[in-house]
Amino acid sequence: MFLGGRYLDIYKKLNEDKIKIFFLFLILMFFLFITIFASLNMGAMKISFLQILKIVIGKIFSKQELLSEIKSNVTAVVWEIRLPRILCSILVGAGLATSGVIFQAILQNPLADPYTVGVSTGASFGASLIIFLNISYGLCLPISLGAMIFAGLTLAAVIIIAGRGVSWESSDLIMAGIIVSSFFSSGISLLKLLSGENVSAIVFWLMGSFSSKSWKDVFFISPMIFFGIALTMFNAQSLNIMTLGDDNAKALGVNASLTRLICLIIGSLLSAFCVCVCGIIGFVGLIVPHLLRYRLSADNKILIPFSALSGALLLCIADNITRTLASGEIPVGILTTLIGGPFFVYIFIKRKKTGGVSI
């Protein structure tokens, strides 16, 4: 009657699964390091692996004797140009994927992404506004400041609109997100119109790119990314339970409304910081959590670290492709959406054919 034979010892099986997952994580981690080194090797200037190794070790452990034998311009290319850019793409990939997990979980919708709630549109508007002001009035305001201010304003607006009632329903959040997002989209269009022939500055910024990212950007986003992922992990079990619906979550001792609000703030901040650094990069935050959820595990405790790592890996590779393959550089945001869109259609159709529940 019960399939006793197949699962004789569930406890043992669970532990074995945990070990497998842990090893898989280590393997991915290893891949990420390999990718970083391979990426440092790619580019217009040919630099050998040995030189790269010497520069990285020499810089990290400040050993001048290793650096002295290498030309200073080579060191600069590796340490000041390539490495910050690679690290930025990794951090943003991790941040976007984690943010995607959060939004999919709190909106109870496997098709949500970091841009669903509209905070990133607000951030883009802020950035566009600063670019517009800088060009029109010859100012020198920092773009990230405007992006952060408007991300905060958007988040506040979404919370006020959606939180009118007693509880935090996911449909209210999506609704509020759509309203606020379309409002700021029009705002961006207006700014583009007003900036006349200087419109390309805004357009390029919005397309999402990692070109000319420096250590300053790395230090700007890394605390938020690490802090955000850690906080999300802290809420992972509550997010798991919220999958049963708010009433059931409450019956299990999870305050669904409060968790949703906290995670909304974390997810929005993560995506806002990412937008600040590199504009809008589509599909990473949607596809990575979505695929891993069906292929690996729906358990957020596993999904969050794996999404972060895979997002980092994916965006780093995507950025390498845009950096090296195209003669003139194409923004990575275009590439992720160009490849991501058809790929998503493919997995969507495949899942329907195999008879599984579609999304």
């Binding site: 019960f2 399939l3 699962y7 569930i10 406890y11 669970l14 979980a105 109870q108 919708n109 496997p110 802290f234 079990q237 798991n240 339970i241 999958t243 049963l244 619906g245 009433d247 059931n248 409450k250 019956a251 299990l252 001792g253 999870v254 305050n255 959820r293 069906y294 729906a298 358990d299 599984g356 529940v357 999304i359």
Partner: protein, 257 residues
């Protein structure tokens, strides 16, 4: 006094100005199995949400073990009270074992892992509720009734002293429903668990529950031992249907009054 698990003191509730539930008071004893009956929209679900602490009443108090239910933190409450509401849906492909094991969560400290005893207990409950065969299946791949059985198993894993079921057994097939309700009755008798459930299936309500509460338009029409309520007047006043009553406490509903 000690054997009273839940006490409602003059609870009232309204969705707009007009009172919907008005001044309800009653006590529920430990180990009892109670069915709430009534037409659609008679206030059963609202009452259950208030009793389980999911909805705050506009007036009156709900006392769980003589303490105000809203004075107990969510997590403390979840250690003793479990609830399954109608239409539990999920969009995410959790395995059924993962769903059932969520029931252990209120008994664990944050980040505390399941030990062997927990896993054995979950396995036992899954076998009892005949959901063990779904163990590795994804919850999104199950049918509505199967999914509901998994959710019910999760509620039992919570080791509740008081269990609320809001039409939670309605979409089970008749054999699964009888099997599950008789399992509940067995747990009630052995572990002194109290069950309060909303059902539409009158035959299993009268067959298995100790007491029946009948609601109409937000008022409590009857609250008595189920045996005493099997009469024509009961069916007429609560549901507006005609029933034939036979000598051995059996009934047959055949037409509208």
């Amino acid at each position: 006094m000690n054997d009273i698990v839940l006490r409602a003191e003059g609870i009232s509730f309204s969705y707009d100005k007009a009172p919907f539930i008005d001044d309800l008071s009653f006590c529920i004893k430990k180990g009892e199995m109670i069915s709430i009956l009534g037409e659609n929209g008679s206030g059963k679900t609202t009452l259950m949400h208030i009793l389980s602490g999911a909805l705050k009443p506009k007036g009156g108090r709900v006392l769980f073990e003589e303490k105000d239910i809203f004075g107990i933190s969510l997590k403390q409450r979840a250690k003793k009270i479990a609830a399954v509401y109608q239409n539990t849906k999920t969009n995410f492909p959790f395995s059924c074992f993962e769903i059932v094991s969520m029931g252990i969560y209120p008994h664990k400290a944050p980040f505390e892992r399941m030990n062997r005893a927990d896993v054995d207990f979950i396995t036992k409950i899954m076998k009892l509720t005949r959901t063990y065969c779904f163990c590795n299946k994804k919850i999104t791949e199950l049918s509505g009734g199967e999914r509901q059985r998994v959710i019910l198993a999760k509620a039992l894993v919570q080791k509740p002293e008081l269990l609320f079921l809001d039409e939670a057994v309605s979409n089970l097939d008749i054999a699964s429903r009888i099997r599950f309700i008789s399992l509940l009755k067995k747990i009630c008798e052995e572990n002194n668990m109290t069950v309060i459930m909303i059902v539409h299936d009158l035959s299993s309500a009268f067959e298995y529950s100790h007491k029946i509460m009948a609601m109409k338009n937000g008022r409590m029409l009857y609250f008595d031992e189920s045996k005493k309520l099997i009469n024509e007047e009961f069916f007429k006043s609560v549901f507006g249907v005609k029933a034939d009553i036979y000598s051995n406490d059996r009934f047959f509903i055949h037409s509208i009054c």
